[in-house]
Every structure is written in C-alpha cells, then in structure tokens.
C-alpha cells in the first residue's frame, strides 16, 4: 500500500441514497490550467460513484467521448481502487455543469488530470466500506481486506458485499485525505489490462447512440445555409419559393452576430453566429431538397477577395523583409552563419490549412422553451458551450441543460460550439425541438481549420558536423502581436535551448477564416517542419539522422527547463529514440532499392514519441508506407492498453492523411467540398503499425494526440532517403508525390 500525497486539491462528499446506498461525489479545486484560460469557479460536488443496496456499482463518466475512449478508461481507474470487478460496473454519462469539474475533451488531458483524483475517489469509497464492515463485525479495520466488491475478515471467515455495507458506509465520516492509501500498482487488476470499449456492442449493432441519431417528439429537422465568406451577409434570396417546397415549415434569414474580436480564441469565447438561411422541415431530406432550390445573392464583405495563391505570394514577400517580431534570440546566429568552415542550409517550409472532417458531420438537437434551452450534443467543450448559449440567448446559465451524447469523431472540431448556437437559435425561432444536421459540404466549408503557415529556416553545421546555429522566421496569420487562433509558433519549441546560436522571428498577414485546434494542435505542423529541417541538417553534416538527433539531445539544455523544448526531458526522448531505432532495425537492415527508413520524434501533451517509417517510393512518385514503428513514453501506467494502442495507430493513420490534405481559398470561399477533394487515408494505404510503450516514473499522460506529429516528418524523411527530394510543401501532392 502506498500513501497518497495529502496536498492534492480534490474533495469528496458523501451522500446516503434513498433505499439504502451510498453516493460519492468528487470535486477538484484547481486542475492544471493552461495560461490564457479563465480561472474556474469553485466547484460543487457531483454524483460520481453510487453503490446501491443491491450491490450495483455505477460510475459516472464526466468527460465527453468522441472516440478517445475515456468512457471506458476513466471509470477503470475508479473501479481499480474501489476494488470491484469490472464486469459488475455500470457506466453512465454525467450531466454538464460546474459541479462536474473540468469536462473538456482536449489536449490529451483526461488521463493526467484524472489519474490521481479518480484513484482517490475509488480508494475513499473502499475505505468507507471497509470501515462499515469493521464496525459491523467489531474488528479492527486493519484486519479487513477487499476483493471483487466484498469486504472480508479472514480470521473469522466472514464477508459482506459492498451493497450490504453501502447504507452504513454512507453514515460514516469521510476518510481523512492524508490517511488514504492507494493500491500498490503490482496489485492492479483493471489498470493496465486491455479492456474493450463499454459501447462496443451498441456500436456494432447500430444502436442510436450518436448525436445525429437523436429523435424527440414533435422534432423538426433543419439545415443551415451559411455565408460562404466569413462575415458575409444575405443581399437577397428566394425564400418564398423555398418555403413552398414540400415538407418545409420555416425558411428565414439569421442575421449574424459579430465575432468577439478579429482573431479570438474561439475555444473559450462566444463563437458568435454566422449569417445564413435556416430551412426547417418535417424531415431532413425535405429540408435539404428545398435547399437545392435556394438562390442567394451574398454580400461577401471585407474577405470576399481572399485567395490562397495571393497569401503564398505575400508570405514570400514577408520572408524577404526584416521580421516584424523577435520572439527569441540567443548567441549570435548571423556570426555563426558567417563562421569560416560553417556549412549553411536553408529551407522554406509551407503547410496548408486542413479541415477536421469528422465522420459524423456537425449536428446538434435543441429545444428552446419558456426561456430554457435543452441541448443534446457531442460537444468536446460542454461547459464553454453552456456559457455560450446562456450569452447568446440572454438566459441564466442554470436555464441551459446539455445532455452529452456520443460523438462520431472529434479531433478538436467539436470543441467549437457553433452548431450548438445555431440549433438553439433555430429552435427558439420556430418554437419546436429542432435537429440541425450539416451536410459534409457544410462541414468542410465551415470549419475551424488547422491554420496554415510558413517557416523560413536557416541552420549552420560546424566542420565537426555539429549544429551551431538555427534561425526560424515564422510567417503566419494574424495582426500585430496576435496570431490567428492556434496558428502561432512557440519560441521554446525544440531545438530551442539545445543550439548555442538560436533565433525565432515572426511576421503575420491578415486572415478571414476561422482557425482552431486540430488533433495535436500546433505540434502537427511544428513537428513536420522542425524534424524535416533537422533531417536536412543531419544529411548536410554527413551524419546518420538518428545519431544526429541523439547527439543533439545529449547536450545540456539551457537556460531553464521551461524555456527549452517546451519543457521536454531529453533523457526520456533519447530512450524512446534508441528503442524505436532498435525495433525498426535502423541501420541494421538491408532494404531493397527504392525503400528507406525515416525517423522523427516530438514531445507534446506530456508524451515522448519517436517514430520510424519504412517507405517505398516508385518511379512515378507513388509512396507506399510499408510499416511504422512507434515508441512512446507516457509515464508510469497505460490505463487501458487496448485503447492506447488504438489511439496511437489512429494517430499515425490520421497524420498520414495530413500529408495529402489541403484547404484553399478562392474569392474568400473554401474551394474543397467533400472527401473526394479533401481525402483521407484508405484501408489499402494504411500500414501495419507497431506500438511499444516505455514505462517511466512519471504521472501517466494522455494518448489522444502525441503520436500524430512525428509521422509526417518520419515519412517525408524516408521519401528523401529514397529519392533525394525534400518535401518542403504540404500536401506532398504539390511536389508530385501521392500514396500508392
């Protein structure tokens, strides 16, 4: 048994259930918070674990599940410490509100932020049940043990089920936080065991569990035809003609509400409401059929001439001017570039805008009645959604109820509650419950896109093959010191702190497009640029790319841990790289002509991930990824190995898709419309993916994101090893490469 840290800031509350059971609530005062995010109000307790008198154990899952598996993995943590059999546990979704703590799904935070609090919830409930048994038998607590939902007294061979003890346990004082003992990990029966998803059966039998499957009595179906240009307005539309179509009940213009600022953080601010035309009918197909007859003349507004090619030209122009801002400067990069014998390498990288394109298009069901809004949504950010609705509809927050439903993929898209605002607005306007379902075209053309950007890099190698200078001029979108949301660059990104002469500059240009978090936000582009350019430098130095990376990570970083590599511990990363090199046979295998390995690593979301891709490139530039090896260090435990492997393999597949995706603008409008022109990887293109975890004595971190970023540069580095051609612009199709 290990004592827990008494300084944790989570609190429990115990309640007796009617009918004789116990209910344990959890609330935590201050979980790790990212900077620039609003402080959270004090929290009230929630119903977390209930043990009914019949022994039924119910655990509430408080975080939205959009495929990342927390509906299964978080309750596993509670069940472990409670010491019940997993088969006897029922999982329910909690409600939404401040009392449930932080409920956001994003940033791979669910595991690290819940690891300690959830174990303590389970252990507290177990301690109460043990005390109840000890009192019942009049024996010392120390003589009692638990297993499979029962308390045992070995000496007298007595035992009682948790259900039989629940009523008494509910009357006892909560155990003192400092006295609470957590299980020795060697005794774990649930944590670390592959556990299948709790909704697998519902999924494979087609049960209506997704947001799009919602049906309410008297519900109407809506489509929303939005301005194709951000901030555009309706000049005229044939509303009467559309209204006369079969099944159509309402057709009306929703006047947009302005965005809170030009480059807002849409994650936490009111998303506003874009202008558009709502068509509400008795079936979705009727609404969508009527939409096809809709003829709208738009006033595109200030962004109506925006064009991707012009943005590329503008970035080139900015790259040749002195940078607008110096984000970081150490040593003297210019002197190092001029040093005699220095080999200087330059590379201009460009990554595009990308859409999320979740398989389930954006959808929300809402019923606004008597000043109250009830919502059924797969939002990843239910609490900001709740606040946004309260603000939009000018009603108090307690008049907003959000029911969480399963989401058909999130990847960051469902962190934005635009569809929720639209559904509630339409429901109020028509006075009925409404299900709003976007088409795929709506989804691709009205996203919060992964922001594009440009990086102009220059590095220098000394005559010994050592990296001595690195300069990065990041050209992005924004205004003044504001970058477009999730479209900036971190001056402490690796190799910051590892190179003596180091500088990061930035310049920005305006953008009239909403941008946002796409799985492993920022890292999904930063890793590609940095690990690709590092590869260029390794080749220039005449060194093995893996060896070159290891040597760099062996340097003593400076000046402070926070300021280099975004807080990365180089020793943990070295171990991951060494193991992935070993697993993949790096430098040891004879590969056929046209086939090579590429390596990359990236630290993000607390995870240390190194990857190697084996790639074959045909003469026609068709790329086949034969196999991928992933090694990750995400701390001391993998809560659910099955879910973890699935997340990592999915991240790799997802990252491969990003090599062929692009969103472009013409006349202010998004050009791409559907999966045929914003493609994703298909079965025949998906490689086998070998996943291995390295345990380290650190709090477990999340796996929804960190395995994605390294795959893009790993594949591009392998393509270079085969062809000698460096991919500096994505999608790789711009340089003639495509997946076989």
């Amino acid at each position: 048994m290990t004592k827990t840290d008494p300084n944790r800031r989570s609190f429990l509350r115990l309640t007796a259930l009617a009918g004789g059971g116990l209910m344990l609530g959890l609330y935590s005062k201050a979980k790790a918070q990212a900077p620039n995010r609003p402080a959270r109000a004090p929290l009230a307790p929630s119903d977390f674990v209930t043990i009914a008198s019949n022994g039924k154990v119910t655990i509430a899952a408080c975080n939205p599940d959009v495929g990342q598996g927390v509906l299964t993995s978080l309750p596993m943590i509670v069940a472990e410490e409670l010491d019940v059999d997993w088969k006897d546990v029922q999982i329910v979704r909690s409600g939404v509100g401040r009392k449930f703590g932080s409920q956001l799904t994003g940033g791979s935070t669910a595991t690290p932020s819940n690891w300690e609090p959830l174990r303590r919830v389970g252990a507290s409930a177990r301690a109460l049940l043990v005390s109840a048994a000890a009192q019942t038998w009049n024996v010392p607590v120390e003589e009692c043990s638990t297993a499979s939902g029962r308390v045992h007294h070995k000496a007298s061979q007595r035992s009682l089920g948790y259900g039989e003890l629940a009523s008494k346990a509910a009357s006892l004082p909560l155990p003192d936080a400092s006295s609470l003992t957590l299980k020795d990990p060697k005794d774990y029966k649930i944590i670390g065991k592959s556990t299948i998803g709790v909704e697998n059966l519902d999924i494979v039998t087609g049960k209506p569990i997704f947001g799009i499957d919602l049906a309410l009595p008297g519900m109407l179906h809506a489509v929303f035809h939005k301005t194709p240009v951000m901030g555009g307005k309706v000049a005229s539309a044939n509303l009467d003609e559309v209204k006369a179509m079969k099944g159509v009940k309402h057709v009306f213009v929703i006047e947009g509400r302005p965005m809170p600022s030009t480059y807002p953080n849409y994650l936490f601010q009111d998303p506003g409401l874009e202008t558009g035309i709502a068509i509400v009918a008795d079936s979705w197909w009727a609404a969508q059929s009527a939409r096809r007859k809709l003829v709208v003349e738009w006033e595109p507004g200030q962004w109506g001439t925006q064009d991707s090619a012009a943005n590329v030209a503008k970035a080139e122009e900015l790259s040749k001017l002195p940078p607008a801002r110096n984000l970081r400067s150490e040593g003297d990069v210019e002197a190092a570039f001029a040093q005699s014998g220095a080999k200087v390498v330059e590379g201009a990288y460009h990554f595009p805008f990308i859409a999320h394109a979740t398989m389930e298009p954006q959808t929300c069901t809402a019923h606004f009645k008597d000043g109250k809004a009830e919502i059924w949504s797969a939002t990843q950010f239910p609490q900001p959604g709740l606040r946004a609705i309260a603000g939009l509809m000018s009603i108090p927050e307690e008049n907003v109820t959000i029911n969480m439903v399963r989401g058909g993929g999130g990847f960051g898209r469902r962190a934005y509650n635009d569809v929720m605002c639209e559904a509630v607005w339409i429901s109020k306007a028509v006075g009925a419950p409404v299900k709003l379902v976007w088409t795929r075209e709506d989804d691709i053309q009205h996203d919060y896109y992964r922001c594009g950007g440009f990086q102009y890099l220059k590095g220098a190698i000394d005559p010994n093959g050592k990296l001595i200078a690195w300069r990065d001029h990041f050209v992005g979108y924004g205004e003044g010191e504001a970058f477009a949301h999730d479209g900036g660059f971190s001056p402490s990104e690796f190799p910051a702190g590892f190179v003596p002469n180091f500088a990061v500059h930035s310049s920005v240009m305006p953008l009239g497009l909403k941008t946002g978090a796409l799985r492993a936000p920022y890292s999904n582009s930063a890793a590609w640029v940095i690990q690709s350019f590092l590869d260029e430098l390794a080749h220039a130095a005449g060194k093995d790319p893996v060896q070159f990376r290891l040597e760099l990570l062996e340097r003593t970083p400076s000046p402070s841990p926070q300021a280099r590599g975004r807080g990365m511990d180089p020793a943990r990363m070295r171990r991951a790289i060494e193991l992935v090199a070993e697993k993949s046979g790096w430098g040891k295998r004879q590969l056929p002509k046209g086939t090579a390995l590429g390596a990359a690593f990236h630290y993000s979301h607390g995870g240390y991930i190194a990857e190697v891709a084996e790639v074959t490139v045909a003469a026609n530039k068709k790329v086949k990824v034969n196999k991928v090896w992933v090694v990750g260090d995400v701390g001391s435990h993998i809560v659910n190995p099955s879910g973890a492997e699935n997340q990592v393999q999915g991240s790799v597949v997802d990252g491969l898709s990003e090599l062929i995706q692009e969103i472009t603008l013409r006349e202010g409008r998004v050009v791409q419309t559907n999966y045929h022109n914003h493609p994703m990887l298909r079965m025949a293109q998906a490689p086998p993916i070998d996943v291995q975890f390295l345990a380290s004595p650190n709090t477990p971190s999340g796996l929804g994101e960190p395995a994605l970023p390294p795959i893009l540069p790993a594949v591009c580095n392998a393509i270079f090893a085969v062809t000698g051609e460096r991919i500096r612009t994505l999608p790789m199709t711009k340089q003639g490469f495509s997946f076989a």
């Binding site: 495929g67 990342q68 592959s194 299948i196 998803g197 909704e199 697998n200 059966l201 999924i203 494979v204 039998t205 087609g206 049960k207 209506p208 569990i209 997704f210 799009i212 499957d213 179906h221 079969k246 079936s283 979705w284 197909w285 009727a286 059929s289 979740t358 398989m359 389930e360 298009p361 399963r406 989401g407 058909g408 993929g409 999130g410 990847f411 379902v437 088409t439 795929r440 075209e441 099955s642 879910g643 699935n646 997340q647 393999q649 999915g650 991240s651 790799v652 597949v653 997802d654 559907n674 999966y675 045929h676 994703m680 990887l681 298909r682 079965m683 025949a684 998906a686 086998p688 993916i689």
Partner: protein, 154 residues
C-alpha cells in the same frame, strides 16, 4: 405506395420515391445504424446490402431499392452475435464507432464471397469505407479473426 423489404420485414413507404434510401431508413423507418457521412457515395458509412451486394444508401434512391431485399447493420444481428460483430467487439475495433456499421456491412459482404480473404482481398473490398479514427489495422485483424471463427463453426 412502395414496399421496402428490410431485414426480412416488409415496410410500406409512402414518402418521396426519389429520397435516398439512407434517409428513408434513418428518418422514416427509424433504423439509425446506417450513417450519413458524405452524401455522395465516397465514404461508405451508409453501406447496406441490397440483394447481398454492398450499396451506398446515400446515393441509392428508394425507388431503386424497392424490388430488392435490403439488409442493414441492425439485420446482421440485434444482439451482436454475428461472428463479424463478435470480432469487432473482442478486438476492440471501434474508436468513435461512427463508420463501423458501414465497415461491418462491407466485411460481411467480403466474407460471403471470400470466406478466407487475403490482405489484398481486404484492401480491395474495404477500400471504399473511410475510418477517420484510423482503425484500419484492427479492422483487418477483425476480418481475419471473423473468418477463422466462421470457418471453425462450419
């Protein structure tokens, strides 16, 4: 009045015969296992069987399906007992799960024709069904797993 035969049962359908089968299934007949993904037949989330052949319900008009026998994911088994569903559960294939109905329908159709499919067979039969979560490695493993189970039970 059109008569649709779905999962062995007859359903009178009085709606628009031009309506895609997808929306008739989902909104008129309350069979929501068939999913809307793209509306243009490129993603496969809406895959159903018409006379045993995989069809994209989003681009199949009700009138074109009226003569056939339609099977949806609900018709494979309602309790998850079909070997393909079993393999999907046991190998923990789903992440978000949204595409998996279409994947399962495509896999069932493949296994009907090729009870012991090779990886190349799987590539060609499953290439039309997108999985945004990237569960392809597990889908492949689950098809092989189901093939073995179906072979063993013969």
């Amino acid at each position: 009045m059109i008569n649709l035969t779905i999962n062995g049962k007859s359903h009178p359908f009085g709606g628009d015969p031009e309506m895609p089968l997808l929306w008739a299934l989902r909104d008129e007949l309350d069979l929501k296992g068939t999913k809307f993904g793209c509306g243009i037949g490129t993603c496969g989330a809406c895959t159903v069987h018409v006379d045993g052949e995989p069809k994209r319900a989003c681009v199949t008009k009700v009138s074109d399906a009226a003569e056939g026998s339609i099977t949806t994911v609900e018709g494979i088994s309602t309790d998850g007992s079909h070997p393909v569903q079993q393999a999907w559960i046991e190998l923990d294939v789903p992440q978000c799960g949204y595409c998996q109905g279409g994947q399962i329908m495509s896999a069932c159709s493949l296994l009907e024709k090729k009870p012991q499919p090779t990886d190349a067979d799987i590539d060609s039969a499953m290439n039309g069904v997108l999985c945004r979560c990237g569960t392809y490695p597990r889908i492949r493993a689950a098809i092989h797993h189901a093939a073995k189970a179906m072979q063993a039970s013969k």
